[in-house]
């Protein structure tokens, strides 16, 4: 049985064109970008070229910085701890939406142990941020506010331009985690008014283990990894040459092909949503329209998500994700699903589909049949 992989938010196949492009930097062009001889300079040029390509994907200004990191988790940590600790003179408050990724929540929680006060910004039942709440909560003492570009569990796209206006009217810096959104919807850090933006390489079909943090000119950060002074002295450590070159090329391809690829994915997404919502007591989670083009998320009453995942995988060869407590490391129900007002028992029955390059319209009927079969089977077992 041919597998249908539908969990691209968790991991993507590295694009073959990216792999071919970056391969020489694993075994041929192996100079250290800090070395001054020719091979080192060539490596340095490759890193700078990758930086330009990533900057182009998000329309960063020449004066701004793109700092390469080990991935979105590090970028989020650097954005939050780096900015807040370097700018303590501005105040002791930090704020974040209630649906942020755990790699935003946990560094913020850590800061609260050092005297910072963290405020949460609610979202509505579709996952859209409460703009009024931002102006209530954020003030001149709020050093950093973090709101994600789009949510990975429910697909909702946040009104970042509005968020930016309100944050800058009332407070200081805005950090945006664009891990789920980048490469699928256009991002313009200048137009949107973003101070810090997190990117992940693998989420745009680049190699794993690399990411980037965009930093607007003038925003000062404390280095989270002090050392030899690479990456503008903010993120030390010999550059991951293969990863960085690969991420750059992935960014170039994403920028070039998004205009054709995203509408293609959106058509598949809409066909899946239409078919899956035929199932009794099935509901879309997240915003019905303002959502990522490759993202479809659901909940089904009376059944549990880990069972959905196992059934879909072992019986039908289809890989999906769930926000079920039973499938999480902590055994806690998804914060995101509770934040949009679901009850615990409702949050247990969730299923998340994130489409990617390998998916196509021909797979849709098989996916819908598999979901129907799975739900029917599990409901037969269920006492509810």
């Amino acid at each position: 049985m041919e597998k249908i992989y539908l969990d691209h938010a968790s991991g993507k196949q590295v694009n073959n064109r990216v792999l071919e492009y970056a391969k020489p930097y694993l075994n041929e062009k192996i100079g250290n970008p800090s070395s001054l001889y020719s091979v080192g300079l060539e490596a340095k040029r490759a890193v700078e070229k990758a930086r330009e390509k990533v900057a182009a994907l998000i329309n960063a200004d020449e004066k701004d910085k793109v700092i390469f990191t080990s991935g979105a988790t590090e970028s989020n940590n650097l954005a939050i701890k780096g900015t807040v600790l370097r700018n303590q003179s501005k105040g002791n408050k930090i704020a974040a939406s209630v649906i942020e990724h755990i790699s935003v929540v946990n560094p913020m929680k850590e800061l609260t142990k050092n005297g910072f006060v963290m405020n949460n910004i609610d979202v509505d039942e579709n996952g859209l941020i409460d703009l009024n709440k931002i102006s209530e909560i954020v003030n001149e003492k709020t050093v950093l506010t973090s709101v994600m570009y789009a949510n990975n569990e429910i697909g909702t796209i946040e009104p970042i331009k509005e968020v930016s206006r309100i944050v800058h009217e009332n407070g200081n810096y805005l950090h945006v985690d664009a891990t789920a959104a980048a490469g699928f919807i256009p991002i313009d850090v200048q137009e949107d008014g973003i101070d810090l933006l997190t990117l992940s390489s693998n989420d745009i079909y680049g190699p794993q283990g690399v990411g980037a943090l965009y930093v607007k000119a003038g925003v000062k950060l404390l280095p989270v990894l002090p050392g030899g002074g690479q990456e503008f002295g903010i993120r030390s450590g010999t550059e991951n040459l293969f990863g960085i070159v690969g991420m750059g090329e992935a960014a170039r391809i994403a920028k070039e092909e998004m205009e054709a690829e995203s509408p293609r994915l959106q058509k598949i997404r809409d066909a899946l949503i239409e078919g899956i919502l035929q199932v009794d007591e099935s509901y879309l989670t997240g915003h019905p329209e303002i959502r990522l083009p490759h993202h479809a998320s659901f909940r089904f009453s009376r059944i549990e998500g880990e069972s959905i995942l196992l059934s879909m995988d072992t019986i039908y060869g289809i890989q999906i994700a769930t926000g079920s407590a039973c499938s999480s490391k902590t055994l806690e129900a998804s914060r995101v699903l509770l934040s949009i007002g679901l009850k615990h028992e409702e949050a247990h029955g969730s299923m998340v589909i994130t489409l990617g390059r390998a998916n196509n319209m021909e797979q849709v009927p098989r996916i819908i049949e598999a979901v129907k079969g799975t739900i029917e089977r599990l409901r037969m077992l269920s006492p509810l």
Binding site: I303, E306, L310, T314, H344, P383, L384
Partner: protein, 134 residues
């Protein structure tokens, strides 16, 4: 040491082909444990003749291990004397399934509890009946 990856083959077998699914009309004993808020809810129905479990059925809302432990416990005790069945522990069920991931040992391993609740219910009903006869 390396972490155990995923479920054992036996767990997956019971998850994919659960034994004794369903309900029993007018059961001699009925047990229900867990709650949907926590993500696991199990119901066990038993038929008992001369203190031997002659038939047993279950319905479960929950994750893979919740379904597999329910199925396994029904298979383990069918035909067993109720006193023996009362001695079947959560651990016994997990062992029969070649183990469960550590974090699932407590939350999704309630099948033995559901069985014990069903047997207690049977004993209670039996005691009430003999009271009536007196």
């Amino acid at each position: 040491m390396a972490e155990q990856i995923g479920y054992s083959d036996k767990v997956m077998d019971h998850f994919l082909k659960p034994r004794n699914v369903g309900t029993i009309e007018n059961p001699d004993g009925y047990g229900k444990v867990g709650n949907p808020v926590c993500g696991d809810l199990m119901e066990i129905y038993i038929k008992v003749e001369n203190d031997i479990i002659t038939d047993i059925k279950f319905k479960t809302f929950g994750c893979g291990s919740a379904i597999a432990t329910s199925s396994m416990v029904t298979e383990m005790v069918k035909g067993m004397h109720i006193d023996e069945a009362m001695k079947v522990t959560r651990n016994d069920v997990a062992c029969e399934l070649d183990g469960l991931p550590p974090k699932k040992m407590h939350c999704s391993n309630l099948a033995a509890d559901a069985l014990h609740a069903a047997i207690e219910d049977y004993k209670k009903k039996k005691a009430e009946k003999s009271q009536e006869r007196k």
